[in-house]
Amino acid sequence: MNTAFRGLCCITVLIVSLVALASIALNYGSATCMSQEATSSHQAVQLLELFILAIGAGFVGALMGLGGGLIFVPVLTSVFDIPIHTAITVSIISVIATSISGGSAYVKQRITNIRLAMFLETSTSLGAFIGALLVLTTPKSLLYLLFSTFAFYVVFLQIRSLRAGGRGVEIEGFKDASPDVVSRYLHLSGEYFDESELSNVEYTVRGSIMGWLVSFIAGVGSGMLGIGGGFFKVSAMNLFMNVPLKVAIATSKFMIGVTAATSAIIYYISGVVRLDLVAPVAIGTILGASLGTKVMNRLRVKLLKVVFTAIVCYLGYSMLRKGLLILGVTLP
């Protein structure tokens, strides 16, 4: 380990520790409030319920290749009767946790394209910043309706993928494209070793501008709805930028941390995060996601996809009903 590398590791530990300690001072008010509320046994039960729910959401999310945000926000608002603004802030912090835990494994295996991640983070962080500013001033009804639209979009994509059947992960034909100006300047193209195919996969990144724009939308969605937005990022990289699916998933997982942290810091410093809810949600999601990743190959994914699609459809409908109720329209 060389000196510069050790220096960087020390800087990291220092930054993380300093910010963590500063956060005690910043959140003194909400922390004190939390400590006063923590004594009741009813709340202890609620925390355990949340923890179990988070394990379930992380588990299902890992099986479906999604973060827990899509499940969390509607469940927190519907089952636990938590206001949507609070649910979004709790969800976005658990999204960082899943990104850090899941992302590190891909980085170690050198599947993640860090240069590509840094390039796309310029747009997702900008989008997340705008999204977070919007969420602090957006009316509840609009947030419910936006979330419901997103849930129905995911349902639509799941149904389409169910109809298309199980396609294998392609690893060929990614090298032949010609890189665009941005890709060439930033050296975005790369390679990785595919363990299932036992071969080195080279790919050339193109369509940088299109990928940048789609990532920007993913960033706004992430900041506004408390979701990771990996769905859009993976599609942007795989469909428009000629990036193999495995690299797209790994890079998206890695990027989500920065996107979510950009909006989470606004919520956290402005004091709207319920600290007591974050711990069970973040830890539970990580445990569930690790479990999901381990059993993924042993389960019948098609059946799970059908169940998951039905759940998301119901959650989307419940969010739509809540949103319309605020506007004075009652749905059955």
């Binding site: 300093l18 922390a31 004594t39 850090i100 310029t122 950009t262 600290l275 711990a279």
Partner: protein
């Protein structure tokens, strides 16, 4: 300097720090023990969680300077600038009434 190695270690350090603090906070909260310590542990955990991506981008800026990598320097500096801007906006929202 290997940016993969740096990113990996930052993520691992951040995850261990944040998960340990959050787990401690959750345990103390459920058991109803030492209220101030409970709140502090949760605050440290969330702070460490949010600080990890920040530390990762700062490390990328430093690594790009050491590697004389102009492209990576431009994008990582832009990202950290946006992240710092959002931090400053958080402070603005903290001192002004919320909408």
């Amino acid at each position: 300097m290997d940016i993969n190695k740096i990113a990996y270690w930052i993520l691992v350090v951040g995850m261990v720090l944040s998960m340990c603090s959050l787990a401690l906070g959750l345990m103390l909260n459920v058991l109803g023990l030492n209220p101030y310590m409970t709140a502090s542990a949760a605050a440290i955990g969330v702070g460490a969680l949010i600080a990890t991506p920040y530390a990762r981008v700062v490390a990328m800026v430093v690594a790009s300077v050491l590697n004389r990598d102009r492209g990576l320097f431009i994008v990582s500096t832009f990202v950290i600038a946006v992240m710092i801007l959002s931090l400053l906006y958080g402070l603005v929202f903290r001192v002004t009434p919320k909408g």
